[in-house]
Symmetry: C2
Subunit: 125 residues, 2 copies
DNA sequence: GCGCTGATTCGACAACTGTCTATGTTGACC
DNA sequence: GGTCAACATAGACAGTTGTCGAATCAGCGC
């Protein structure tokens, strides 16, 4: 494979979403697709994680320091644990700036999840 | 069904979605909202359930008999168990017709989930 | 360097989840 | 009524998950 000009083009526009899966209604998911999709949904399958994610997503500037959002009724290590899960699922990214760690929403993954569902909804017979 | 006059009016237009929660980016979710949202996401947080749901959603006519979709690599009781979970989460409804039980996608819940995410995605800073 | 604050990692444990086999229920057909 | 097929429920069990306290790591200011 040595065709230097025919690299698979990655869409440069911000609309590009991770090529995860077709809409849920398009066809029965394969095992791999189902595992990918389930991993993303699972990340938002816990109330504490939903609150943390929502707190980050709704924070001015689209990012939030852990200290800004850790008032969700569980201990601080537990907050850290959930943030890690959200990061592993690709929904959040983190960056250390001095003493604090800032978390930020990963829009493309969120968009991919949304398309999975909205396309389904609009296609609902 | 014989009181056609005093039924609480359900919005007849197909756009009506269950009033679950605002978009994830709008504001930090309350505890109740987070639990509602998490319950829905959790339902799609298992690969087998994603495959079952996708199989129903993509089936011609928007519904499928259990026998049509139960080839997902787990035993028949396990399929039944997962379909029950999806039903409890409000994502599917079921109806017995003779020997067979047909499952059907609940579009409003799916649309609610989609709006939760797509509004977020488009609002991504 | 030292202590302080913010955040993650570790180890433990109860609770939940997914899976199975065995059994029950429901309807169709003879 | 008896039998068969489709689906659901019950009980058991291993693996995973959410939670905590304790310990550790990473910067900052003195």
């Amino acid at each position: 494979m040595s065709n230097p000009q025919s690299l698979p083009l990655i869409e440069p526009d911000s609309d590009a979403v991770v090529p995860c899966c077709p809409p849920l209604t398009e066809r029965p998911f394969t095992v791999d697709e189902a595992e990918t999709a389930a991993r993303m949904f699972k990340a938002l399958g816990d109330p504490v994680r939903v609150r943390l994610f929502s707190a980050v997503a709704s924070h001015p500037g689209g990012e939030a320091c852990v200290c800004d959002i850790s008032d969700v009724g569980v201990s601080q290590p537990t907050v850290s644990h959930h943030l890690k899960k959200l990061k592993e699922a690709g929904l959040l990214t983190s960056e250390r700036r001095g003493t604090w760690v800032y978390y930020r929403v990963e829009p493309s993954v969120l968009a991919a999840m949304g398309r999975l569902l909205t396309a389904s909804a609009s296609a609902g017979a």
